[in-house]
């Protein structure tokens, strides 16, 4: 009986130890693979098309605003919009954004995350919410009534896209057991999130460009429109 019991105890002990061995080997291997996956970097070169197109759009915005500034009349209602769009143009070139990003460099997941954070914090909050959100109210200048809803919808989409990319990057601490082949064929999350964020930058620049192009149209309103919400005219110039 004692021998019987002893052998069974042996069996249970070694079964538990075998299970522990399997679990530890699994967690060691998966953490190794996961750390290697997080060490991947995304290379941004000078010839990156999205980077170049963004810079070109900023130049175009500058040119349109300059042409308006030269040809504008004093009694135009587009003056406040012009000042707000010029601040947005400065925000597009802000530190930490795509315009001042260093090229020919490898970017880590945290660098891409910061790029997305500046998009949310500066471009959407400072430019759209603070400067241009009045366009969605009754104080919209004439000629912009048909354009603004489309711009608003596009910015909503951009915001969702970037927030999704940032949540995916925040969740990079979680892992699943994938081989090198499956991860290469299915998805490289860093690349896809970078592309999503940079596309949002370009789309936002497109919205600002379209709004600024409309300044130079011939439809000018004689009466001054009141501005509700946001910054007043006197403070815009500063």
């Amino acid at each position: 009986m004692k021998k019987f019991l002893k052998e069974y105890l042996n069996l249970f002990a070694y079964a538990a130890l075998g299970l522990v061995f399997v679990i530890t080997s699994f967690y060691l291997l998966i953490n190794y693979y996961h750390s290697k996956e997080l060490e991947k970097r995304y290379y941004v070169s000078d010839t990156d098309s999205s980077y170049i197109s963004y810079k070109n759009k900023i130049e175009e915005i500058k040119n349109t605003l300059d042409t308006y500034n030269k040809n504008r009349n004093k009694n135009t209602s587009y003056l406040s919009l012009y000042t707000r769009l010029s601040t947005c143009k400065d925000v597009l070139e802000t530190d930490g954004g795509l315009a001042k990003m260093e090229t020919n460099k490898y970017y880590s997941p945290y660098d891409v995350y910061k790029l997305g954070q500046t998009f949310q914090g500066k471009l959407i909050n400072t430019c759209w919410v603070v400067q241009l959100s009045y366009l969605t109210t009754d104080a919209v200048p004439k000629g912009y009534e048909e354009v603004v809803p489309f711009a608003e919808r596009e910015i909503e989409i951009m915001g969702d896209r970037v927030s999704y990319a940032l949540e995916e990057l925040e969740n990079n601490g979680s892992y699943f057991f994938s081989t090198g082949i499956t991860s290469a064929t299915i998805r490289n999350y860093l690349r896809s999130d970078y592309i999503a964020i940079v596309k949002s930058y370009n789309d936002f620049a497109d919205v600002i460009l379209n709004l600024s192009k409309k300044l130079n149209t011939k439809e000018e309103v004689k009466e001054e429109s009141t501005v509700s919400g946001g910054v007043s005219d006197d403070q815009d110039i500063q």
């Binding site: 004692k2 021998k3 019991l5 002893k6 105890l9 042996n10 249970f12 002990a13 070694y14 538990a16 130890l17 299970l19 522990v20 061995f21 679990i23 530890t24 080997s25 967690y27 060691l28 953490n31 750390s35 997080l38 060490e39 880590s108 997941p109 945290y110 995350y113 990057l169 925040e170 990079n172 601490g173 979680s174």
Partner: protein, 261 residues
């Protein structure tokens, strides 16, 4: 080689475990601080759920060392798996504290990725509890002693060539009735002595009354009739299959009892 690895894993495991416990305590306390919880107050039970497996394992390791339980200490598989468990927990703590590729390490502003560590708490607990369970089972196993644990000598079938008849002076073939009477008790009185008188009118059956005579003369030699024969067999038939010289003076069996005195 196994002994070296055994000792290596054993000592590393015992030294590293307290440090890992303190690392987990630090991470859990900071996590509670961020969430506004009190680890030593209202949320003490949540805190102790994480720390209890460490405490249990440390107590068992102390028991293993101070009570010299070789069943656990000299078990290479146990020491190896416990070393691997310490290694995995070290990886969890290291990555939570120092891996900057994790975004939440930066975002949460404590330089710790709490999300990653909370995902690893459950497997950590299971590993430590399973180790403790295996430890307890091995301790219990070590205290169970079975007679069959004694190593048995190999039994060699006698060959007719090597079989020699035993000397007649030192044994007598007993009948079945005499065999029953000759059964010796298992527990012997060591202090019993008898004064044996020599009777000239000896009878073949008189040894029945002198059972203890035979026993007391043989008690220290741990012999009985059959064992005596066995010893004679092994002396005359070398089980290592080496040729043996016939030295009758040396191989003469010891005189144990005389029937006819």
């Amino acid at each position: 080689m196994t002994k070296i690895f055994n000792k290596l894993f054993y000592y590393i495991k015992n030294l590293v475990l307290p440090f890992l416990m303190f690392a987990t305590i630090y991470i859990v306390v900071m996590m509670f601080q961020r969430l506004g919880k009190e680890p030593f107050g209202a949320n003490f039970l949540e805190f102790i759920e994480v720390i209890l497996p460490y405490i249990l394992l440390i107590i068992l390791l102390l028991i293993n060392t101070f009570l010299h339980q070789d069943e656990v200490r000299n078990n290479i598989f146990y020491n190896l798996t416990s070393f691997l468990v310490m290694l995995t927990i070290f990886v969890f703590c290291y990555r939570a504290l120092f891996d900057k590729n994790l975004i939440l390490w930066h975002k949460l502003k404590y330089d710790i990725d709490f999300n990653y560590f909370t995902d690893q708490i459950a497997p950590m607990k299971t590993l430590l509890y399973l180790l403790s369970a295996a430890n307890i089972i091995l301790i219990v196993k070590g205290y169970i002693k079975v007679d069959d644990d004694i190593k048995e000598t190999p039994v060699i079938e006698p060959k007719e060539e090597n079989f020699k008849p035993l000397e007649e002076d030192n044994f007598k073939v007993l009948t079945e009735d005499e065999e029953e009477d000759f059964g010796l008790p298992k527990e012997a009185d060591t202090n019993v002595t008898l004064d044996i008188k020599k009777d000239n009118n000896t009878n073949n059956n008189q040894h029945k009354n002198n059972k203890n005579y035979y026993y007391n003369n043989n008690k220290n030699k741990k012999n009985n009739y059959y064992k005596n024969n066995k010893n004679n067999y092994y002396k005359n038939n070398n089980h290592n299959n080496k040729p043996k010289q016939n030295n009758n003076n040396q191989n003469k069996p010891k005189k144990t009892f005389d029937f006819y005195e």
